[in-house]
């Protein structure tokens, strides 16, 4: 346990080391969120009844999504492991007396938490101060907020486990470019990062909800905005648990296979 805390500490101090990057990311997320909300507004002005979410809920959804971007979106994947695989420093990773899967899982989750802690507070603070339909509203009630936190933790587990599979594939392909791009593209689309899942056409939405990607940002954010409650929420949260178990299983299997054949190239 101490080992894992140490990873987290180092990650956090590293995040603090990059002040300009954190600031840049923050500004980008803030503008992106504003742009997104304004384009949504154009649609809502045409026919508010045509959408499955109210406009204030959609605004909250977008702000929360921006604030939690590095925490639960695929784009927040820790690039460190791609680098160590590509430049061969993975040799050192393999000569540590710890389970590689466990170590990388913790470290990439730690990166996500550290990055998010640095960035989400300012985004949320600004969003909360914005006037009513454009800003971020409070969650429906306290239980919903607590469930949001639980589901957010589960989402972190799911997205990190998907990331681990991407790392294990990179062991095979050596260059991460293709795999990473595909993973980010698919995950962004099916987790509602581009268009929230409730906006998907019937049928296709149900199909998307069966995929592991919807068990990431989609569930906690919709619980927070009040879009998801009751039985449907319970089902989707159970799906999150299921996907963590399944994806970790697949990841460990791939690790076991890859580490047997891994070749650290060059002298």
């Amino acid at each position: 346990m101490k080992k894992y805390l140490a990873f987290f500490r180092l990650r956090f101090t590293m995040g603090l080391q990059y002040r300009a990057a954190a600031l840049g990311g923050l500004v980008c997320q803030f503008f992106w969120g504003a742009m997104y909300i304004l384009s949504m507004k154009a649609f809502y002005d045409t026919d508010p009844a045509a959408f499955p979410m109210t406009f204030p809920a959609a605004a909250s959804y977008i702000w929360l999504q921006q604030a939690l971007l590095t925490l639960v979106s695929m784009g927040g994947i820790d690039n460190e492991f791609f680098n160590v695989i590509q430049n061969g420093n993975v040799a050192y990773e393999l000569c540590r007396p710890v389970d590689v899967y466990g170590m990388w899982f913790t470290r990439s989750a730690a990166t996500r938490v550290a990055n998010a802690l640095l960035r989400c507070v300012p985004v949320l603070a600004v969003a909360a101060l914005l006037p009513a339909p454009y800003g971020m509203a409070a969650p429906p009630d306290l239980p919903a907020f607590l469930l949001f936190l639980v589901s957010l933790t589960l989402a972190l587990g799911v997205v990190t486990a998907i990331g681990m599979i991407v790392y294990m594939i990179t062991f095979h392909t050596i260059t991460p470019r293709g795999v990473r791009l595909i993973a980010v593209g698919i995950c962004d689309f099916f987790s509602g990062n581009i268009v929230p899942l409730p906006f998907f056409p019937e049928g296709f939405r149900q199909f998307s909800e069966l995929l592991p990607f919807s068990s990431t940002a989609n569930v906690p954010i919709r619980i927070y905005t009040g879009d998801l409650a009751g039985r449907e929420m319970v089902v989707l949260m159970l799906m999150q648990v299921f996907w963590i178990v399944a994806l970790v299983g697949v990841g460990k299997l791939l690790e076991w296979k890859e580490l047997k054949t891994v070749v650290v190239q060059g002298g």
Binding site: K3, Y18, N89, C95, P97
Partner: protein, 263 residues
């Protein structure tokens, strides 16, 4: 005790001629050649020995080190290090060994070196007193006082290498594998590193296996030499065994490579 018997490892390499046409052709049809990096390597190293592992470029030195440190699984052959098979009980094995890959880095690039050390302390579960004692000792011997507080990326190669070596020794390993530890070091750092390795071997009885192309390293350190070429051990003996009276060490070794036809 390190026992290696008939170790073999073959790599598949896609080779092609230069040029665009050849690159397009290789899209559809690849010609593979098989490189026998290790072709039946056997040796035995006792506790507390200091062995120089030499050979021309591409001879199989690094592959051997990778297998001994549990990173690479050989195609066939036996390897027992203090009763452990490195690639089978990797986690248990690496706790007892220290490795320095001269071409790689284990320090976190953006944070001061001492932060990396603190993390290694947790990874290896080094007790605080042992850690403190080792850091103090290593700082003194390798002259790290100023370096520890500097981010790794702002260190010169030689400075970083001294930190890398220190990092690999924090957990008191019984066996140390050094893969080209003096690459790119200036004269002063080289002498410091050699001196340090020698003391380590004498005082802690650490078994040391080191690969290098710097024959003065070998002269200064190794009482025994293993010569590998084309994946085979060609010679196992002392420096005196291979030396012809008075000639320079580099010439002696070049002569040897020619004699065995492994250049």
């Amino acid at each position: 005790m390190i026992e290696v018997q008939d170790l073999r490892k073959t790599f598949k390499v896609a080779r092609r001629e230069a040029g665009f046409g050849q690159a397009v052709k290789a899209l559809f049809h690849r010609e593979y050649t098989y490189v026998h990096a290790l072709d039946g390597v056997s040796f035995r190293i006792g506790d507390g020995e200091m062995v120089g592992y030499i050979g021309p470029n591409g001879a199989g030195k690094s592959s051997t080190i990778k297998i001994l440190s549990g990173i690479l699984t050989p195609d066939s052959g036996k390897c027992l290090i203090d009763g452990r098979i490195p690639w089978k009980s990797r986690q248990k094995h690496v706790k007892e060994i220290g490795v320095v890959f001269g071409q790689r880095t284990q320090l976190w690039w953006d944070v001061p070196v001492v932060d990396s050390f603190e993390l290694l302390k947790e990874i290896y579960a080094i007790p605080t007193e042992v850690y403190k004692k080792n850091v103090d000792q290593l700082t003194e011997l390798l002259d790290l006082a100023q370096l520890l507080r500097t981010p790794a990326r702002q260190l010169s190669l030689g400075q970083r290498m001294r930190c890398e070596i220190a990092g690999s020794l924090l957990h008191n390993p019984k066996i140390l594998f050094l893969d080209e530890p003096t690459i790119g070091l200036d004269a002063v750092s080289k002498l410091a590193v050699r001196d340090f390795i020698k003391r380590l071997n004498q005082e802690r009885h650490t078994t040391v296996l080191l690969t290098t192309h710097d024959m003065q390293d070998i002269e200064a350190l190794a009482s025994r030499i293993l010569l590998i070429g084309k994946g085979k051990i060609l010679l196992d003996g002392s420096l005196e065994d291979i030396r012809r009276g008075g000639s320079h060490i580099d010439e002696t070794v070049a002569e040897l490579y020619k004699k065995f036809d492994v250049t």
